[in-house]
Every structure is written in C-alpha cells, then in structure tokens.
C-alpha cells in the first residue's frame, strides 16, 4: 500500500496560496524521514496535493513544480467560492477513498475553518498551528508517527502532539513557519480528476457579496524587509519614523501586539503568535521588548536587527545584531547615513 | 428588571483585609451585608510585601488554621539587613520569641489570600458584588443612606456604610472626613517584584532548613539612596517578594524612578546572588499611607465609618497594616451591629467605633508613632550614614588583624565622626528614641 502524505492546495481566485508550496516542502521532508522504514518494508510513498476549485489546472501544475507527485483535483463551478460545508464534505470523501497517512493544511482563515470540520467528520486528531513537524518514534509504536509541535497557553508552553490510533494524522501550519521549497519548472506529476456531487443541503450558506480589503494587500508574511515598531515608540506618531525607515530600506511596516492593542496601528501589521508569522531577509525590531509571543513570529528571519534602550531586552536573544540605544536617535541617524551612502553611490 | 431597590443592613466598600473582615462580623450577627468591590475578584487589585499577623487572623476565626488558609511560609527569622554601597550587615533574630506557637507571622500572597478571606466571610453570609466601583454616596437629610455605583441602576441602600477602600481614599475624601488629597510627604510608593526560584535554592541561599522556615526582612541603607524608605524581602514557598518603598515627595524631588531604585537594590552585590537565575513572576506598585496619626481622617460620620488603609492605619516601621485593617474592620462592624440594635445610625452612635479603637493597639500605636514620618524625613542619616557606618565598623573590627587595637577603635570612631559629628549623632539617637516612644 502507498503511504500517502497529503497537502491541501489552498487557492483563491486562480492563485495558489504560498503556504501550499511550503507544506509540499514539509511533506517531502517528512517522507525523507521515513526512508529507513520504506527500505525495510518495500512500501511506496507519495506526496499528493488536494485541490478543490473551479478552473484550477494551472494551480495543479504549480503544485507539482513545488513537489507534489500527484494531484487529486475536484474541478467544478460549485467550488468556485469557498464554503465550509461543501469543501469539508469533498475532502472527507477523498480521504475516505484514499486513506492518506498524513494530511497537512495551511492555518489560514480558510484552512482553519476547513480543517476542524474535516477532522471531525473523519473522527481523527488534528493539531493546530504547528511550528515543527517530524516523523519519529513514539513510545513502543513500531511505525514512525507525525510528531507535531505547537505552542500552547499563549506561547508559554511548547507541546508535541501525536495522534497514534487514527488516520490521517492531521495538522495545520501557519504561512511562513516553513521555508518555500525550490520550484522545479520541469517537474512532472499525475493529475487525477476526482468527482464529488454537491447536494443542495450543503449549500445552506451562500456568499452574497465580497468586499475587498485594501489593507490586506500589505502581505506582511511575504515581505523581504520588515521594520517593526513596538510600545517603545511611546506614541502612535512613532510609526511615521518606522515608515520612513521602511521606505528607505524598501520594506513594509510591522508591529508588536502592544502597539496594536494601543490602537497605534492596524492589526494587519501585527507580527507574532496571534499576528503574522514572518521570515523576511531583514527584520528590524524597534522598541520591541521581545516577548516570547513576538519572537515566535519573527525569529526565523534571516537577519534581525534590534534597537532597544534596555540592554537586557529579550529581543537581543534572537537578534543577529543589537543596538542599545534610543530608537529616536538611532533611526534618524540610520536614515541619514543610508541616504548619504545612496547619494555617494549614485 | 424589578424596580425594588437594593437594600441591605450594611454596605462594605472594598473587599480587602478590612472589608472582608467587617463583612464577616456583620454577617455573623445575622444582618444582611453587601460588599462592593471594584476588582474582578477580592484581591485582584491588592498586593503587599508581606506578612500577615496571626493574632488578628485568630481573633476573627479562632479555628483559622483548621480552615486551610492559603499561606506561604511562616516567618521563623526576621530583622534588619543594613546595606552600604557594597556591603551588608545582617541583624536578624530566630528561635526564642520568634519561635512561638503558633508562629506570629506568615508570608502570604494577596492574590490568593484575599479571595479566600472573602470566601470565609461569604460563608458567614456576606454577599460579595465584584466588578463594581462605588462612585459616591446616597444621602437623606445629609446622612449617608447608601452608595452609588458605576453600573446602570446601580444605587444600593443601607443605613450604615463601612468604607474600606484602601489607600486611594477618594470616597473618604468625598465624605469630607479628610480634607486633603493623598499627602505626598505622607505616602510611600512601594514597588516590588515577585521572583520565582526553586524552593531548594531559596532555602540554600538564605539558610532555611525547609519550606516550614521563612524570612521577613526590612532592608535599610543603600536601598533607598538616602530617601526615607525601606526595602524588604519575604520568602514565599517558591519565590522571593522583594521591593522598596520610598515617600512620594522624595521621589519627586530626586526624580529617581522607583523602578530604577528597585533594580539597583536587586543588583546590589549582597543581594544579586540571592536572586540569581530567578524568574520575574510579577511586578507591581502600590501606595502605603505612612502618615498614621497625622493623616488620620475623622473615622465616622452620620451613616458611615472608615477603616484600614483608607484611614491611614499603617505602622510603616513595623510593616503593620493588615492587622490594623482587620482590627479596625472588626470594630467598625461591631459598631454597625450596635447601631442596628439601637436603630440609630447617627454620628453619635458611630462614635462608639472610635472609642472601641482607642482600646486597641491600632490607635495606641499610631499615636505613639505620630512623629515617626516627620522624623524620618528630617533625619536622612538613618538611611545612609548609619547603615554605612555599621558596615564599616563591623568590617574594620573583624579585619583589624595585626593592627594595634587602640588605633583600630580610633579608626572606627573616626569613620563615624567623619560622616556625622559626635554630638549630632547622639542627638539623632535621642530624637529616634523620642520618635519611637512618642514622647
């Protein structure tokens, strides 16, 4: 029997959500972690994408390029817009048909809505918002299980969860917790058209209207450079300075929750456990103490510069480089020197 | 909703030590009492050093210890630590009088003790109304007949109100029992941290045998940077409660931030090793009324009495506050019961409260210590020169090996007189004696 590792390929209006690629990367990693078992048993594995929507063949191809060997696709007008019931029923149907071992879903708004319903109708376990996934041994169980690690109690505790007697082992993962794998334009895979009939009672809720939110264009999660401000700004106007530095660096503005709670900036900018998980190439933390809940959201950034007046601020524990100083002095000076450099080189 | 007005026999404002005690005593007599507390729960807004004193607790519930109170460690060692800039002299006592049965003082965490203390009162029949702020009084013919709260349809009636609102005594001021705002020279701001450490580390570092042993320490000297104030250290089961309290006017004058003062204390070379690797669990700031007798309000008026911190009932030198609050709460309650018996709630009957209190340690001590806060404000040398001298003197005495001892004593003597002429020092001592005996 094939040991199937499934990834839900989230899409919206003809675009694949980047978290799907990240999960395909993880799924391939997980498969490599059971190589020893496969060798012993002679079993096969496959990493498969589950795609539901309308006119989504291009997305199927994209998913293959990010590492899916096979795509199960339900392509029908009934799935044009996401709705919990029909999507959940469709996925449940597919799982029952193919019995995958692991099923990963992005912990996006859509994914969280969907995963809880699917896991419940399958009567299996689901671990939410995982920050680490691996295949490993649990107690004396012969086969490796999915060891899903996640924060609990507001990030103060880290717990590893297993689902030992039920399949599939399901987990959701927030965007940007894992890296995007390399895309292979030449990759080939199989696309299986699946059938699913939407019954009228599944359509009790209908989308009447969609109002686009322009703030949502911010796309903090996928920015390369983020300059974040926290409570240390002292007042809402401080974000003007943050924006200035962000513009100078070509980045976007992020924030801590304290700044959001203070009403200084919109929630869309919040980085952290209950905000966005980011992994930019450069993260500048200004006046942010570095509470655990903030750190978990940004510690995967490639380069972290922290500016804080308190030499003992925990943010320095995750920083690549720290500046002990007043952000109101340091940032203007940075802008000045950056401009001078630009002037010199142009 | 019913249009019946909310009517009780007695209203208590504030579910702190004073309030929950008053409520228990009133309820025990069979009267209907409501306790109105602004916090989510009794204790949620309260915190202190600190230690509770057994005599007061047993006075309210003779079976206190059988009720499984949430206490931390008993105080089996207590006294002063005198800090110089880089040294410390310990003057603590253990065994002997301190090893009484039951032990005289127990360390407690208010967030746990206050809800429990309130529960005991609730079991007596008191009704607690949390999450509600008392904003003003209801009057009839200039007599208090109830309170207003910040909730819609929030009036509550009772012929007598016991105000136990704590140090920030806005209601007491509103009633005109006191004519001033918090006097900043008479109020101290205490900042403290609760630092968690494994019990075995606490015991090892402080020389305690086990969790049945605990410390209550007043710290004098370098901790207050010469300002009138004290530091403290109390041991809970798994944490150290450490803080500094300094008068507000000194803070204002020096522009020193209380938090920096606390940080300095915790980084002191004799203190830092004690808390090494500890984790900050809680940080907080709270006012302490230190005026005592000098800021004592009028304690009663028609239909109302005031008890506890709200009435400046704190003896700052001995860290006595909770026991005064409990004792005063009880006396106010007894007076309210008497008023109900007489069906007379006028100031004339409620004057019985003051008479009762006069017979207790509360007013006796406050009166005796009435000169204390002025004394400390005028004698900063007790906060820096003498603790430092003590450190030098003992330090020199125990290192003067090979030195002619005559010269040693001269050196020691000079280390005092260099800082404070002898006559002045003698004067200081006399003044201290006067302040403490109240003569």
């Amino acid at each position: 029997m094939t040991r199937r590792f499934w990834v839900f390929i989230e899409q919206n209006q003809g675009k694949m959500h980047p978290v799907a690629a990240e999960l395909l990367g993880v799924a391939n990693q997980l498969v490599s972690e059971i190589a020893d078992e496969l060798q012993a048993s002679g079993e096969e594995t496959s990493v498969e994408g589950i795609l539901v929507g309308h006119n989504v063949t291009d997305i199927a191809q994209e998913a293959i390029q990010y590492g899916a060997q096979r795509i199960h696709k339900i392509d029908s007008p009934a799935f044009e817009h996401y709705l919990n019931r029909p999507y959940a029923e469709a996925l449940t149907h597919l799982v029952k048909k193919y019995q995958p071992e692991v099923f990963l879903i992005g912990a996006t708004t859509l994914g969280r809505d969907l995963a809880g319903a699917v896991a419940t109708s399958l009567k299996t376990g689901l671990t939410a918002d995982c920050t680490k996934l691996e295949m490993g041994h649990f107690r004396k169980i012969e086969k490796k299980l999915l060891l899903a690690t996640r924060p609990a109690f507001g990030g103060n505790v880290i717990a590893t969860i297993v689902c030992k007697d039920h399949l599939p082992q399901m987990a959701t993962v927030r965007p940007r917790v894992f890296e995007t794998p390399a895309r292979n334009a030449k990759a080939e895979g199989e696309i299986l058209e699946e059938e699913f009939e939407v019954k009228p009672e599944m359509m009790a809720a209908k989308l009447v209207e969609f109002i686009k939110d322009n703030n949502a264009q911010l796309n903090l999660e996928y920015a390369d450079i983020i300059v974040s401000g926290g409570k240390g700004l002292g007042n809402p106007d401080g974000f003007k300075l943050i924006k200035e530095l962000a513009d100078e660096l070509g980045g976007v503005v992020g924030s801590s929750r304290a700044a959001v709670d203070g009403g200084w900036i919109d929630y869309a900018h919040q980085v952290g456990q209950t905000g966005k998980h980011v992994r930019p190439k450069l993260y500048v933390a200004c006046g942010i103490s570095g509470a655990i809940q903030h750190k978990v959201g940004m510690q995967d950034s490639d380069y972290i510069l922290a500016i804080n007046t308190d030499p003992n601020a925990p943010i320095f524990e995750v920083a690549t480089l720290g500046v002990v100083g007043d952000l109101y002095e340091v940032i203007p000076e940075m802008i000045k020197q950056l401009r001078a450099q630009k002037g010199a080189s142009s | 909703m019913s249009k019946d007005k909310l009517q009780y026999d007695v209203i208590v404002v504030g579910a702190g030590m004073a309030g929950s005690t008053a409520a228990a005593i009133v309820a025990r007599s069979g009267l209907k009492v409501a306790v109105i507390e602004r916090g989510v729960k009794p204790g949620s807004k309260n915190y202190f050093g600190g230690a509770l004193y057994t005599h007061a607790l047993l006075d309210i519930y003779p079976d206190f210890f059988d009720r499984k109170p949430p206490l931390e460690r008993p105080v089996t060692e207590t006294g002063f630590w005198f800090l110089s800039e880089d040294g410390m002299v310990k003057a603590t006592v253990q065994g002997g009088y301190v090893n009484s049965d039951p032990i005289d003082a127990y360390v407690a965490l208010r967030a746990e003790f206050d809800p429990w203390w309130a529960e005991q009162a609730a079991a007596e029949g008191a009704f607690f109304i949390p999450k509600t702020l008392v904003t003003d009084f209801l009057y009839e013919d200039a007599k208090v007949i109830g309170v207003k709260t910040d909730r819609p349809e929030g009036d509550v009636y009772a012929p007598v109100v016991i105000i136990c609102e704590g140090v920030n005594n806005l209601l007491t001021q509103k009633l005109g029992l006191i004519d001033h705002d918090l006097k900043i020279s008479k109020t101290a701001l205490a900042v403290k941290q609760l630092i968690s450490l494994p019990a075995k580390d606490i015991n090892a570092r402080l020389g305690l045998l086990d969790n049945k042993h605990g410390l209550a320490i007043s710290v004098i000297g370098d901790v207050s940077l010469g300002m009138p104030g004290l530091g403290f250290l109390y041991t809970t089961n798994n944490a150290l409660s450490m803080g500094v309290g300094v008068t507000l006017d000194a803070l204002e004058e020096t522009q020193i931030k209380p938090y920096e003062l606390l940080q300095r204390y915790l980084e002191h070379p004799a203190i830092a090793p004690i808390i090494k690797d500890g984790q900050l669990m809680e940080y907080g700031a709270h006012l302490i009324p230190e005026g005592g007798w000098t800021t004592l309000p009028k304690l009663y008026t028609d239909g109302a009495m005031v008890a506890g911190d709200a009435a400046s009932m704190v003896n700052a030198i001995h860290w006595e506050g909770t026991n005064m609050a409990i004792t005063a709460g009880k006396q106010a309650a007894l007076t309210a019961i008497e008023a109900h018996k007489k069906n007379d709630f006028s100031a004339k009957t409620l004057a019985g409260y003051q008479k009762r209190l006069n017979e207790t340690f509360v007013l006796k001590d406050l009166k005796q210590y009435r000169k204390m806060s002025a004394f400390l404000a005028n004698h900063p040398e007790f906060m820096d020169i003498y603790p430092t001298f003590l450190n030098d003197a003992l330090g020199m005495f125990f290192t003067g090996f090979g030195k002619p001892k005559g010269k040693l004593y001269k050196d020691i003597f000079r280390s005092l007189t260099r800082r404070r002429p002898l006559l002045k020092a003698v004067g200081d001592l006399v003044a201290f004696g006067r302040a403490i005996t109240g003569i």
Partner: protein, 279 residues
Amino acid sequence: MIHLLASIKQVPDTTNIRIDPETGSMIRKGVPAILNPYDAHAVAAAAEWKRKLDGKLTVITMGPPAAKEALQECIEMGADRAILISDRKFAGSDTLATSYVLAEAIRKIDQDDPVDLVFFGKQAIDGDTAQVGPGAAIRLGLPLITYAVEISEINVDEKYAVIVRKTESGKEIIQTSLPAALTAEKAIAEIPYAALPDLITSLKFIPEVWSADEPLAYDENQIGLSGSPTMVAKSGTPEAHEPAETISVAEQGLSGAVEIILGKMLSNSSVASLLEELK
C-alpha cells in the same frame, strides 16, 4: 420565538501565565480563570439579538465545577438558561471529543426547544485551536460561518440570517438558512456593562449541571482520554537563545554606532544584495 445558543469555555488568563522553571509546566495557582474573550463577545452578540427579537438565549459549557463562574458572567450579559456539562469522565477530552460532547448537548436542547443559531468563539485562548466550533457544526450538520464580525440580519419568519465574516482578503457577506452556526471575532459585539440588578441575579444564579450519564448518556468511547485521538507526547518551555552581539550608542557615540551596524549589516551578502536592488 427565536432560540439562540452559545457554547463558551472558561480558560486560564494566558496573559498572566507563569511557568514553573523546574518542571516547565504551568502554575495554575493564582492564575485567574476567565470567560474566553472571544466567547464573551459571542455571548454579547447573542444577547443583543435575543433582546432585539425578544427571543431566548441558552449558554452551555463543558468544564470543571468552577466553570460555573463563566456561565454566571453570561447570565450577567443576558442569557436565560445556563448548563454546565461536568463530569470527571470528560477529563482529557481533546477537540474531537469536546465537539462530540457539545454537539450532543446541543442536539438534546434542540429537541425540546429548537435552536436557530449557535454561537462559538473564534478560538479559545488556552489552546488557540479554533477547531471545536467547526467540529461541532459539522456533527450537527449545520452550515457554519467562521470569523463572523457582524450579524446584519436575522429573519425569524423566513429562517435566514445575514452574517459578515472577515477573511485575509476582505469581508464576505454570507446569507445562511437557519439553523446555522457561527464562530465569533471580537468585533461582533461590544461587551455590555450590565445593570447592577442583572449582576446580582447572575451572582446568585445556579446553573443546571449535566453529567456524562444524565440527562444524556454519552458514549464513553467518544469522551475523555479514550475519545481523544491526539495526545501530548511531551511539553516544555520554549528554548532560550544566546544573546546577540550588541553595539551601545552610549559607548560608541551615535554616528559611530550606526556606522558600525550598517557596516555589519551590509557585510551580510543577502541583506546587501536586497539593499542593492533598491538603488
């Protein structure tokens, strides 16, 4: 008459959590238990609509006896009936088992007094899973609207509701037939400040208590530890890191310090190439 139902949970206030440095587990002592904030807003919305439509509001929770306080808070906001589902046998329930317990209870309540709209919070702040609402809804076969930020309309006669939900890209206006279920964001309603008589009523209120056997006989294989497919393999505190290299403005002077940090940052090739692109 419309019948609204809210499913609520009492949680430790995670903003106040302390961890035992020795065992790495949470110190429950002294941590206040609160009504899950999202649930509080859900109940506030439900209470608002029950008043508007002159209907009825029932709240339920599965939890220890102390969870009674959370139910009392719902009564304070305007709930008419409160049920505490409490039994040692439920201990250790994960989200799957919890959704079973709640769904069966809702089914039972619905038999006697049909329920039109079920309110859940978006998520409980202790576990942050956001799974129980969707799980219970699918068990009950109800259409589900997650992340609801507004209820624009509830039409009792024609049995439909219009609900606004928030997604990453904007707002969706959803029309659903009733009965239905939703999970609430905080924006769905403000928490009201109850009148004093309502507060007093709630303080004296004693909820109905249901056990695992009465009035509903739960299948023991679906509750508690045996009904929970997931289990905690291990738990601990997040690992600590070594502090980074720091440059002090006080020591290096302002322009000196900034020069050093920019220099160091630009010696990192990936940062340098990013900034290069800018020019």
